[in-house]
């Protein structure tokens, strides 16, 4: 494996031009001042209570996501390419979703194996033939990107259900502007603070036709969800109600919320609740988080759900390999952003190759997320690989494998000082009347030395992300 590309330093340790002003600041600023700024950030995050809830061991505990003071900087020309690549990808994914729930042309054309779509548990038969406003399925997407080398960005995965993390992007920026205002005056850093406005505008734009002043709400599973802070944060920033299932009810296929002044009609639900739990009448019967009758109201076109029901079929890891083909099929274009080369273990040749090279590859569960259920070959033990091999052999089609990418590194504060740590990037893309993004996104950093897993549930931290305007 070649050494990882460092975002700040070139091969001979020279500072890349877009990092020069940060490097100067680090050199000029006495270490105790820097240390104080880091403490201040920690304190502020604690006081405001920007936390996530841990599942599994210590379940229910509220924890802080570590924030790293050193930003990740992206030059203007690179962001331009990434942005157009992201738009292209989300456009194709939306077209794909509309297609598979209507005419299924891409399957008829044989470009994607029908069985892989139609027999996938994430394919929602209930959605076949349901027409959505603007034919939009993915209103908010989080597309994870990694960099392997100069100008070499790959899409690691598409998150099209309820991608989270945008609140950290906004809070990280607020913190940086408070702690290091002088750096913002030295460089043209593109703003991101208007994201909640864009989101609200976007959500209002996808209300059913004829609704003049749509009422938008954020639907959360509740206080014990890991991303509850974000749900409350976004509702507050947009100035809309944060509701839980029991706050809503459906009468004659119209959704209302219970208010102190009687029922109030709801037009658009930004739901942060999985499909399965949305409506006990349509999906999981035991769901107490959802709203009985919601799906029927949805099918009648009386309420918009963002994201749509059934988007899981497009961000499933087994479908990931087909996204470049979707771009070609629906847009007639070549993909701007590359996929990571991927082995599908449902194919015998791929399976054989992967089992022979387990120690070099990353193996992921097709339906897994959050860094759970994966094997990182190079850092795994023999025992872990043996256990994983058995799991793979039991259900080969549940897995895909990818080469271990040398994710780029970025200087990061660690116990011993500043050291390179691996990072990724999750930009957020909004689809309403048009496709919009805010420059950058959430940079996640694996704080453990050599670790490639950046998820907050696995000990990852975050950094502010600076896209330079020129």
């Amino acid at each position: 494996m070649k050494p990882a590309y460092d975002e700040m330093y070139g091969a001979d340790k020279d500072v890349r031009p877009h990092y020069e002003s940060l490097a100067r600041w680090l050199k000029e600023t006495p270490p105790d001042v820097v240390a104080r700024k880091r403490e201040e950030a920690d304190l502020a995050f604690h006081r405001v209570g920007i936390t996530f809830t841990v599942y599994g061991e210590d379940a229910g505990e509220e924890r802080l996501i570590p924030f790293d003071l050193l930003p990740r900087i992206i030059p203007a020309h690179e962001w331009k390419i990434m942005e157009s690549g992201l738009r292209q990808r989300v456009k194709a994914l939306n077209a794909f979703l509309h297609d598979v729930y209507h005419d299924q042309n891409i399957l008829k054309a044989g470009r994607i194996p029908s069985a892989q779509v139609l027999q996938n548990p994430l394919f929602r038969k209930e959605m076949v033939g349901v027409d959505l406003p603007g034919q939009i399925y993915v209103h908010v997407a989080g597309i994870d990107l990694v960099r392997a080398g100069e100008g070499e960005y790959y899409v690691l995965e598409d998150n099209l259900r309820t991608p989270s993390g945008v609140s950290y992007m906004l809070e990280d920026r607020k913190m940086m502007m408070r702690l290091l205002p002088e750096l913002f005056s030295r460089q043209p850093i593109a703003p991101v603070e208007h994201y909640p406005d864009l989101l609200l505008e976007n959500l209002r734009a996808v209300a059913a036709k004829g609704v003049i002043e749509p009422t938008v709400v954020v639907l959360t599973p509740g206080q014990f969800n890991s991303a509850y802070f974000e749900h409350a944060f976004l509702a507050q920033q947009m100035g809309v109600e944060l509701v839980e299932g029991p706050d809503l009810f459906v009468k004659d296929d119209v959704v209302y919320m219970r208010t102190t002044h009687g029922p109030q009609r709801v037009d658009v639900i930004y739901r942060r609740l999985d499909d399965d739990f949305l409506d006990p009448e349509a999906f999981r019967k035991d769901s107490v988080l959802g709203v009985p009758g919601l799906f029927s109201a949805y099918c009648k076109g009386n309420v918009t759900l963002a994201n749509a029901v059934g988007t899981g079929i497009a961000d499933d890891k087994s479908m990931y390999v087909h996204v470049p083909e979707m771009i070609r099929f629906y847009l007639g274009e070549e993909p701007i952003l590359s996929n990571v080369p991927t082995w599908e273990l449902s194919k015998p040749d791929d399976l054989k190759y992967v089992l022979d090279h387990l120690a070099e590859l990353v193996v992921k569960e097709v339906a897994g997320s959050g860094g759970y259920g994966m094997l990182v070959g190079p850092t795994s033990t023999e025992d872990e690989r043996r256990i994983f091999r058995d799991k793979i052999l039991a259900h080969p089609s549940n897995y895909i494998a990818q080469p271990t990418l040398a994710l780029s590194t970025c200087p990061t504060f660690v116990a011993q000082g500043i050291a390179p740590r691996h990072i990724d990037l999750r930009p957020f893309i909004l689809c309403g009347e048009e496709i919009t993004t805010v420059p950058g996104g959430l940079t996640r950093v694996a704080l453990k030395e050599g670790s490639l897993v950046v998820n907050s549930s696995q000990g990852g931290g975050t950094k502010d992300t600076w896209v330079l305007e020129y």
Binding site: R47, V48, G49, Q223, A232, A235, Q236, E241, L242, V243, E244, P246, D247, F249, K251, M257, R258, T259, T260, H261, G262, P263
Partner: protein
């Protein structure tokens, strides 16, 4: 606003006020118990306090003897007792957390800090010479939360539901405190007007911060009838039933939601009776009987707030 938000705000405020009043009630009982009183059974005050809170059964389930240490433990720190100060402060914090977006950050931080400190106190336990200062701490945190609410919160419906919670809880507790002394600890005839009786009445007044007020208003000896008048009918005494119901009625009329006619009728009628009532009539009815009846009406009022605004019943 969302009914569930209003519900959380109402209970947040009620829980803080409840913690404060439980502290006040424990404080008066504690002080009364320090006075030797020949006609009372040992620990009768503590037993009285449990009956008045309706927690006799729950207490005896868990503790063998009724005594100061056990009742204070049960009413202050016991997490199994939903009416304990510990549980009330937890409920206040949990309700606040659920509606963080609808209260100011100062309010949230105050309730959160109170809860964190309460947990630490519960871990340490209350030392026997620290009982009064613990009650004072509870009162102070309640004053602080109310002051921050008053000083920082937008005067919207949320603010009004907070006021409803505060004053409904306070009204009920003023009734209870009065009843503890008057009904259960009523001394035998020869003790009426005796030293012990006097000290009990003054302890009661102090527990609702009304001792100096009494002196100022009446400039005369303490008599049960005047205490009752002060605590029930005086409009300018901030913990009196009259003052609490006046605030409830005002907020209920400003809220003026659809389906709120019955609620407005109930509160308006209660308010009118207090405004134009006379202490002679109350004493003629019997103070205990009167207080019992008032508590019932306050409970009905609370239920009506709930069905009118919180969708407590299934929607119709």
């Amino acid at each position: 606003m969302l009914s569930s938000t209003a519900d959380h705000l109402f209970w947040m405020a009620r829980s803080i006020e409840r913690a404060e009043n439980t502290a006040r009630m424990l404080d008066i009982t504690y002080k009364m118990s320090l006075l030797k009183h020949a006609t009372l059974e040992p620990f009768q005050e503590w037993s009285a306090m449990l009956s008045i809170s309706g927690l006799h059964y729950e207490f005896t389930e868990k503790y063998k003897d009724i005594n100061a240490a056990n009742v204070i433990r049960f009413m202050a720190l016991d997490e199994d007792n939903p009416a304990s100060i510990y549980s009330s402060l937890k409920a206040a914090r949990d309700n606040a957390r659920a509606v963080r977006g609808s209260i100011t950050s100062e309010m949230w931080e105050t309730l959160n800090a109170t809860w964190i400190e309460m947990k630490a106190i519960a871990d340490r336990g209350i030392p026997s010479d620290g009982v009064s200062s613990f009650f004072e701490w509870v009162k102070e945190r309640s004053h602080l939360s109310r002051g921050i609410t008053y000083g920082t919160m937008l005067r919207d419906d949320g603010f009004r539901f907070i006021r409803l919670g505060t004053f409904l809880e306070r009204a009920e507790n003023t009734m209870r405190i009065l009843d503890v002394k008057y009904h259960i600890l009523l001394p035998s005839l020869q003790d009426v007007g005796g030293a012990a009786d006097y000290y009990q009445w003054s302890a009661l007044l102090r527990s609702v911060s009304a001792f100096e007020t009494y002196r100022k208003v009446y400039r005369d000896v303490i008599t049960p009838r005047r205490v009752a008048q002060l605590m029930i009918l005086r409009a300018d005494m901030p913990r009196s039933l009259h003052a609490c119901v006046e605030e409830l009625d005002t907020q209920i009329r400003v809220l003026d939601g659809p389906r709120s006619e019955e609620l407005q009728r109930l509160s308006g009628r209660l308010y009118a009776e207090l405004k134009f009532g006379r202490i002679e009539e109350i004493m003629a009815e019997g103070l205990h009987e009167y207080l019992t009846r008032c508590l019932l009406r306050l409970r009905t009022l609370g239920e009506c707030i709930s069905t009118t605004y919180f969708w407590a019943e299934a929607e119709k």
